[in-house]
Symmetry: C2
Subunit: 720 residues, 2 copies
């Protein structure tokens, strides 16, 4: 139990870091009256949007909580509420610091690049540490309460279900936040660009554009709040499912289980500390901006190695002792030692040592590093992919988009190979549990990764404020330089989140099959690929990301069209706007995008909740319960097998398109205003909903499908 | 054996129909000297390209044949050569009639729409009937030779391997033809458009454009010859795998097996006859062009119902008698009755009656009809999807592409649901064999479906010739009207081919697992989804269509860029071209595209050949042979689970983009020359490699991966 306390202390440290660093950021000068005026409009819009978004989500949340209370009982409902509320808090707080840091970053960039970088990055670090800290605190405290005051055994079904419900709460809120925020930000962005840059011929962030505030609000509610909720979800689900898998798969006494289950918590804890140290290493020191951010990231990652080692020794004692060997599963083959369910699939929890677990976590760290490197290769302006898109822009809009699509397809290859090698390596070391620990080590870096990401929208906003407030050109140049790097770091987070989902999928599936065996011991479910219901499940699972992507893209297109109409109307009704004599009605556009985003987010977000339930009941009606469970299980893997590629291609491709435009704007292939630049703007517009709406929302979608299946099993078995 | 003779007679009828109808087409007037001049240039280019393409493929073919001769023996090598040669012949003959019909269609369209339609459709029907006829003849004669003169039992391993090798020959040639032709046609098309329409501001098919002949050659070598080779492959693989599955899964005496294995052949045979009748029903009769084509298609399909029924009664006698019930597999659960390989997956060959098989084939016909209907909905100008893209073009290039991508993602949903329902229904009726017969009935319609498709490039060419030869405007209007329908029929064939692959995948996987059990009876291979090597295989299989698509898109982009450079050079060096005083060097452009297409097709075509072999050996080295086979099997399903979506989204999306442009050209949203039209041209350009290069080539790719795995198994077991 001491370990759990220590983890909770690390969570508290993260929150304290957040409070302390927020205060640091807020103490900085907030610029002149004009700048503060603009920032206030952005703050107001962002708060208004998030307020309405969370009110809408709350209605769904209350309904779902009611269903859970009736089917799974009170403790699970409490877990769900904790996950849901803290996911919302992570997003809200992130937005809150972001909308205050933007104007301060613009002000700091007046003096120096370093000043802008420091302010923006600190603000990102606040969000990052709160995501990791609140995630760790929620899961550690809940686990502490259940095993401590409630006196439950660590592998009690109540704990398994409660942790699942906690993850469900986080996931459900995050899919709404990711998608709603994603639709908001890209509808405003695309709409503003189309009517401003293309039709009216005014620059980006020109204050005469009535959609310009909505565009800046979008950065905060989508790229910041939505992303924070998403990563909070990924954190909670990954740590949670690692603990659940230990509880389900390892046969050991309560003390040993307790030790093992608290290992993911303390790993998360020590990595918060290393991430905090890393944040202080982000300094230009003569190098590039990306180099400065990498200094922080690699410091945190490299310090994690000894930290994880020490934590493992502390928790497990002798790292060379064997874990789980005498237990439930046969060590040699990973096949079930019991013959109760001969037809049920074998779970891969072979026996392993603590040292094996340590190496699995090292695999996770290597995967994190490689995914960062691959993403930078595909989205950075210094490498072949982005340059090939920029080159293709010379021959027009069509070839720009063709090359961008080619890159987006290609960008799936290396991450998939990395994930495949990681699955094999960690499975060879410690079975399913090994894969779970690799994913845990990846997510333990979340504080730092989110910090890098959340820095992006702040600099984007700072550039907008500099433009609107008429600050000198060199300020805008500095914020632009910061922002270009932000495009890459934003892509990194998405690749990282979906990559960890690839690892976690097998673990979630393992939890599903084990649960199935526990709840329905007499049922023989055939998960073999030669069972046609498995194929049916795989195909329908694979369909979900496509359908979800279609919804997301259509929603952005439709909402952006509405923005165009609205802005055209304002220009028509009030000719003073273009002359600069009267101020456009920013609030009306914000309000329009708010309503559109909230309306459009509902149906696609419910798709992954309803699909597994519908599939189970339909197949069970047609071919019996065993086929229903087989199809449902296969759907869980179908959604990851297809979702991984959809998400990777969309997020990398979108980032590459964006930076190809930036590369041309830097004076290549004719520079700003050339035909190549126009083609690159088209590519960037196409990439916007790809990378910021449809692509990233696939990550929580995958988790929800999996978690709903786990909860459905528990509910069918009659709850606890 | 009489049944096999009857099937062979039907095959001969198809070939005779082809000869007779070719003569009919060739008797028609071939236009004036200018038109014949242009047509001769297209013929020359097409023949030169196909000659070089098949020479290159022949080198690969000889190497592969040598490997097969060393590993699998002479008979399999002969099968491979038959499949390879006839696939080439189908493509070559199709191109040959197509390049003669184009100018005659243009000439006939001078008089009436009906005249143009008749000539173009007859030419398409020649290709269609030759694809089906040669496919049927090859497989029926080979089967006759092996079971008759060679005296082998119908389920002898030699026959199974020989039919597999035949399918491999067809598939290997067709992936080169599909991809090489696809790169040729779209590189020429995109290049010609970019430099002609966009840069020089001259209309499509303007004779001053040096790439214009290459563009028209492309229609014949890609959309006609490549498509024909692809559908030949699909036909041979589907019928072949149905026969192989019967041989592997049904335990019965030789006479009964012989009857059952000849059923797919005779079904193919009678449907050739109904397709021929259908071709005579294609008449305008006051209705639309699509309506006229549908009359032919639906006549053929509806006549197939009684034809298949009579064929089934003829072959099986009493349709209510039970087949395979007392055999190898337990009828009730589909689980293996033998306990030799308890961990091996159950094969779904339950017992069934002849009537069940008949109903499975009806499922196949319904799937064909539904896929045609769905494709028309997504790519026709009368429905929401195409109109939404046209509407989105009003706000620019970016929104056009966003909406097109949204539609392409969405377009995967209904076909997937249809395939899933068909899998469930036919499996419930007759297990894996039922699914195989559903696919067979689908492919039995290939003659008619290919006829509809091959009609498209002829009208496209006819329009080009009309433009270049300066025929009156109303001729071009007629050919344009014919061509717009061709866009939809082309999309239909692709959806149909990939849909049948979806059904056939499970059958191919069944053949793989059964082969595995036969060759390696002592090896326990775990195909359960909880085996991490299954996940590894699924992920890597799912990666293949993405990587393949990336290669295809990049190849088109690169080759199109080379065309742009070449044409710019010609304009620069010879200013007389634009003035119309001197003739561009068409041959040089054709030659350039030829070299580019052949160079670019090699590596991606070898990807599906090399990947399964590499995966097997790497995983076997890391984790043993059982894991190697598990990963390989999962790769087979991964490639279909992902490939189905990649192919459906690309082909439907591309068709929708193309017709959105046509819809605007018909005078909507501002018509030709408007900003919306420019945006729609961009979408069309993006859709080109999507729908004609990368998307359709996924179909043979899936088959090759599967067949290579089957051959690898046989080779590892030491051949026959």
């Amino acid at each position: 139990m001491t370990t759990v306390y220590l983890a909770m202390i690390c969570g508290v440290i993260a929150v304290l870091y957040g409070i302390f660093t927020s205060a640091q950021v807020l103490r900085q000068p907030a610029g002149d009256a004009r700048m503060q005026d603009i920032a206030a409009a952005i703050q107001e819009g962002a708060k208004a949007y998030l307020g309405r978004q969370y009110t809408t989500i709350a209605i769904v949340g209350v309904v779902v909580a009611g269903v859970l209370a009736l089917t799974l009982g009170l403790i699970s409902t409490v877990g769900f509420v904790i996950g849901a509320v803290l996911s919302g808090v992570a997003g809200y707080v992130g937005m809150n610091i972001s909308v205050r840091a933007n104007v301060r970053t613009a002000e700091a960039a007046r003096t120096s690049l370093q000043g802008g970088l420091t302010t923006a990055f600190r603000s990102g670090a606040v969000t990052g540490m709160l995501v990791a800290g609140l995630g760790l605190l929620s899961i550690a405290s809940f686990f502490w309460y259940l095993t401590g005051p409630s006196g439950l055994a660590p592998n009690d079904r109540v704990i398994v279900e409660a942790l699942t419900a906690l993850a469900f709460g986080a996931s459900l809120i995050s899919i709404f936040a990711r998608l709603g925020g994603g639709i908001f930000t890209k509808a405003a962005d695309v709409g503003a660009d189309l009517v401003g840059k293309v039709e009216a011929g005014i620059p980006e962030d020109d204050p005469r554009n009535p959609a310009v505030i909505a565009d800046n609000v979008g950065d905060n509610v989508g790229d910041c709040a939505g992303m924070a909720a998403d990563l909070f979800e990924t954190y909670v689900v990954t740590l949670g499912v690692t603990m659940i898998s230990i509880a389900l798969l390892i046969q050991a006494d309560a003390a040993e289980l307790m030790r093992l289950m608290s290992l993911p918590l303390i790993v998360g804890g020590v990595c918060i500390v290393t991430s905090i140290i890393g944040t202080y290493m982000v300094r230009l020191g003569g190098g590039s901006i990306m180099g400065a951010l990498y200094k922080g990231f690699f410091t945190a990652t490299i310090l994690s190695i000894p930290a994880i080692y020490v934590a493992s020794v502390y928790v497990l004692g002798d790292l060379n002792a064997t874990i789980g060997g005498a237990g439930f599963l046969d060590a040699g083959t990973g096949a079930l030692a019991t013959d109760v369910v001969a037809a049920a699939p074998a779970e891969g929890a072979a026996s392993f040592t603590g040292m094996d677990l340590f190496w699995c976590m090292m695999v996770g760290l290597v995967v994190t590093g490689l995914l960062v490197w691959i993403t930078e290769y595909y989205t950075g302006t210094n490498h072949r992919p982005v340059r090939s898109i920029a080159k293709a822009s010379e021959t027009g809009h069509g070839t720009n988009v063709i090359q961008g699509l080619a890159i987006s397809l290609e960008a799936t290859a290396l991450p998939t190979l990395v994930i495949v090698v990681a699955v094999i390596a960690s499975y060879q070391l410690a079975g399913i549990i090994g894969i779970a620990f690799a994913a845990t080590a990846m997510l333990a870096q979340a504080g730092m990764v989110v910090a890098l990401d959340a820095y992006g929208p702040v600099t984007d906003n700072a550039g907008g404020i500099a433009e609107m407030a008429g600050l000198p050109d060199e300020v805008r140049e500095r914020t632009d330089a910061l922002d270009a790097v932000g495009n890459t770091t934003k892509a990194v987070t998405k690749g990282y989140a979906i990559g960890s989902a690839g690892l976690a999928a097998l673990v979630l599936f393992g939890a599903y099959t084990t649960d199935l065996r526990t709840y329905f011991p007499d049922l023989t479910v055939d998960f073999s690929l030669s069972n046609p219901y498995v194929i049916v499940g795989l195909l329908l699972g694979a369909l979900l990301p496509y359908l979800f992507g279609a919804f997301g893209m259509t929603a952005v297109g439709r909402a952006a069209g509405a923005v165009v109409e609205e802005v055209r109307g304002q220009f028509r009704d009030n000719p003073g706007i273009m002359l600069g004599t009267s101020r456009p009605d920013y609030g009306r556009t914000v309000d329009l995008v708010t309503r559109a985003a909230i309306k459009e987010m509902i149906v696609p977000s419910l798709l992954p909740v309803a699909s597994p339930i519908a599939l189970y009941f339909i197949i069970t009606a047609v071919a019996g319960q065993a086929s229903g469970f087989a199809a449902l299980g296969a759907m869980l893997l179908g959604v990851i097998v297809s979702g991984l590629f959809v998400a990777l291609s969309m997020t990398s491709g979108g980032g590459a398109w964006d930076n190809a435009k930036k590369y041309i704007e830097d004076g290549n292939h004719g520079g700003k205003g050339s035909e190549a630049h126009k083609a690159a703007v088209t590519g960037d517009t196409v990439g916007d909903p790809y990378k910021d709406t449809a692509g990233p929302a696939v990550n929580p979608m995958i988790k929800i499908t999996n978690i709903v299946a786990l909860l459905l099993l528990a509910a069918l078995a009659g709850g606890v």
